[in-house]
């Protein structure tokens, strides 16, 4: 379970998050919806432990990640979080396969296990024929899918994805959403930030506007 209480984050004068609070149960699929610049990425960065809020707490399974030491956060990131950042950044000198397999170095997978898991995921995101390509040889959409595969590779309990459908065509959007739904059915908690209406059809939607998070009623969700 994730409990977020009274989260405040400002960049200078600009208050991006202004007392954001919400609870997410294990196995839920949440979409944080909002226009560009609403603070979705900031909220996801805080949930993924990439950034610290000015105030408030974030509790993952009874652990308050805001007050946790850096060492504990490192373990937390390996064991529980799978995060696909908005930038879809990948290490340029490594081929796609190695980029996706990076989290497995820490997870202690054997070479055979690693090959099996990565090959399966690359197939699921439709990049099995690009495994040896370097990031510069991939399109933005392919990079996005690769980063989602990297976030899912350790089969984490909490999956956070920023703009999962950015730069994707309709078929690939469906493919990614189906993959996320499959992970949700497997028990993972999924939080995605997006401004894409298609994604909101698949999950419970919370809208971030003026620094506040409010439930939004959609076709598929609440």
């Amino acid at each position: 379970m994730i409990r977020v209480s009274n989260l405040v984050k400002s960049y200078g004068e600009l208050k991006v998050l202004d007392g954001v609070s919400f609870d997410i149960e294990q196995g839920e699929f949440i979409v944080i919806f909002g226009s560009s610049g609403a603070g979705k990425t900031t909220l996801l960065n805080i949930l993924a432990t990439y950034d610290k809020p000015d105030e408030g707490e974030v509790i993952f399974d009874r652990i308050n990640i805001i007050n946790t030491s850096e060492n504990s956060l490192e373990r937390f990131r390996i064991e529980k979080i799978g995060f696909a950042h908005q930038s879809s950044y990948m290490i340029e000198c490594l081929p796609l396969y190695e980029n996706v397999a990076l989290p497995l170095i820490l997870a202690g997978f054997s070479k055979q296990e690693k090959e099996k898991v990565v090959a399966k995921l690359l197939k699921e995101v439709g990049l099995e024929d690009k495994a040896k390509n370097r990031p510069s040889q991939l399109s933005l959409g392919q990079k996005k899918r690769a980063c989602i595969a990297r976030a899912l590779v350790t089969d984490p309990r909490f999956i956070l994805i920023d703009e999962p459908t950015a730069n994707l065509d309709v078929a690939n959007k469906e493919r990614i959403l189906a993959l996320l739904s499959q992970k949700q059915k497997g028990g993972a908690t999924i939080i995605v930030a997006t401004h894409d209406q298609i994604v909101t059809k698949h999950a419970k939607v919370l809208e971030l506007t003026n620094g506040k998070l409010v439930p939004l009623e959609t076709e598929g969700g609440v």
């Binding site: 990439y50 950034d51 490192e74 995060f83 950042h85 908005q86 950044y89 990076l102 989290p103 820490l106």
Partner: protein
């Protein structure tokens, strides 16, 4: 953590192929500076002045070293029982004679070990070949000029229709001791063959009743020799204690240190986003810092080693001087010290930056 660091080293090794021009540019600059420093360090040691020392050969009264003008030679001859252009021992004679060019051309010996001892040519100046083998020793310069090496036969034309063949058993680097000397065994024909050359050094045994020099001229030859040694020692002192040389040497060290730091810092700036990503994936700051330090230590160590090796090759293969192992070790020690200091300092600053890095901000850059 060690496993993670090693794995990271392997992963980032691919970057060297990808960003070859960057690594090559800085690598070459650092190798050149390291080589420059190594050459400067070795100068006093490889200098021909460095080998000046008194010549003590029991069988002869004096050893004269050139350049001597013709009148000098005539005066010495007047007082000498024999101008033995060489050292004699037992039944075997080794012929020592200078040549006008001021370099060794050829050493032909029956017993190289003995010949080296008697001429005080240190064994370490022998590049290759086994001592105590009969054959010819050739100097590096002449070998290069004639395109011959150890194992080759050299044919020496001693008269119009007479030639003798010798197998080269060693290559010798010129020093003050060796320069201007031809060592040869003593067939008369060979001696005759070298007659056209002017002397630059030779052994002299005085005639009975003549002490310390040419008859009637007191200590002339000894004084001349003492003067020569003194002058060369002064030149050596000037060279080794020269302020400009010291400045150039330490300037090289400072330049290497600054370029190494710049290279390390540029590498960190390039990798910053990669490291932010790895931190986000759960890699510890400690393991990333350790990886960065290990990589830089390895890189700098290889660079200075290659630089020192280049200096050795340059001195030996191109200049033609023996590069003493003492100089190699000394320059390598200094350069490694600089490389380790620069790596540790650069990596410490990088680690500090890594500790304060905001993953979200860095990933959002660019």
């Amino acid at each position: 953590m060690l496993k993670t660091v090693v794995k990271l080293c392997f992963l980032f090794f691919r970057e060297y192929r990808l960003r070859f021009s960057h690594f090559f540019k800085y690598g070459v600059i650092m190798v050149l500076i390291a080589a420059y420093f190594s050459v400067l360090v070795s100068l006093p040691l490889v200098s021909e002045f460095a080998e000046i020392r008194p010549f003590e050969v029991a069988e002869f009264d004096v050893f004269l070293s050139g350049p001597l003008e013709k009148p000098d030679i005539e005066r010495v001859r007047g007082g000498a029982e024999a101008i033995v252009e060489g050292a004699c021992f037992g039944d075997t004679e080794v012929y020592v004679k200078g040549n006008f060019a001021g370099r060794i051309n050829l050493i032909l010996v029956n017993d190289l070990q003995r010949a080296l001892e008697i001429t005080e040519i240190n064994e370490r100046y022998i590049r290759r070949g086994k001592v105590s083998r009969r054959g010819a020793v050739i100097d590096a310069y002449t070998a290069k000029k004639l395109s011959v090496d150890v194992g080759n036969q050299v044919r020496i034309k001693i008269k119009k229709d007479v030639a003798v063949e010798y197998r080269i058993v060693a290559v010798l680097f010129p020093t003050s001791v060796t320069s201007g000397i031809i060592l040869a065994d003593y067939p008369q024909e060979v001696k005759e063959a070298f007659r056209p050359f002017e002397y630059t050094s030779f052994w002299v045994k005085w005639k009975n009743g003549v002490e310390n020099g040419v008859k009637g001229e007191g200590n002339y030859t000894l004084l001349k020799r003492s003067d020569l040694i003194r002058q060369q020692k002064e030149a050596l002192d000037e060279l080794t204690h020269n302020r400009m040389l010291r400045l150039l040497k330490w300037g090289g060290i400072v330049a290497l240190f600054l370029i190494a730091l710049k290279d390390i810092w540029l590498l960190f700036e390039t990798r910053k986003k990669d490291y932010a990503l790895l931190l986000g994936l759960g890699f510890s700051r400690k393991s990333l810092g350790t990886h960065f330090l290990a990589e830089n230590l390895l890189r700098m160590a290889v660079t200075v080693f290659v630089g020192t090796l280049c200096a050795k090759l340059y001195m030996q293969r191109i200049i033609g001087f023996y590069y003493p192992s003492e100089a190699f070790m000394e320059s390598l020690m200094y350069l490694l010290l600089v490389a380790i200091t620069a790596s540790c300092l650069g990596s410490a600053v990088a680690s500090k930056r890594l500790r304060r890095i905001s993953i979200a901000e860095v990933l959002a850059e660019g």
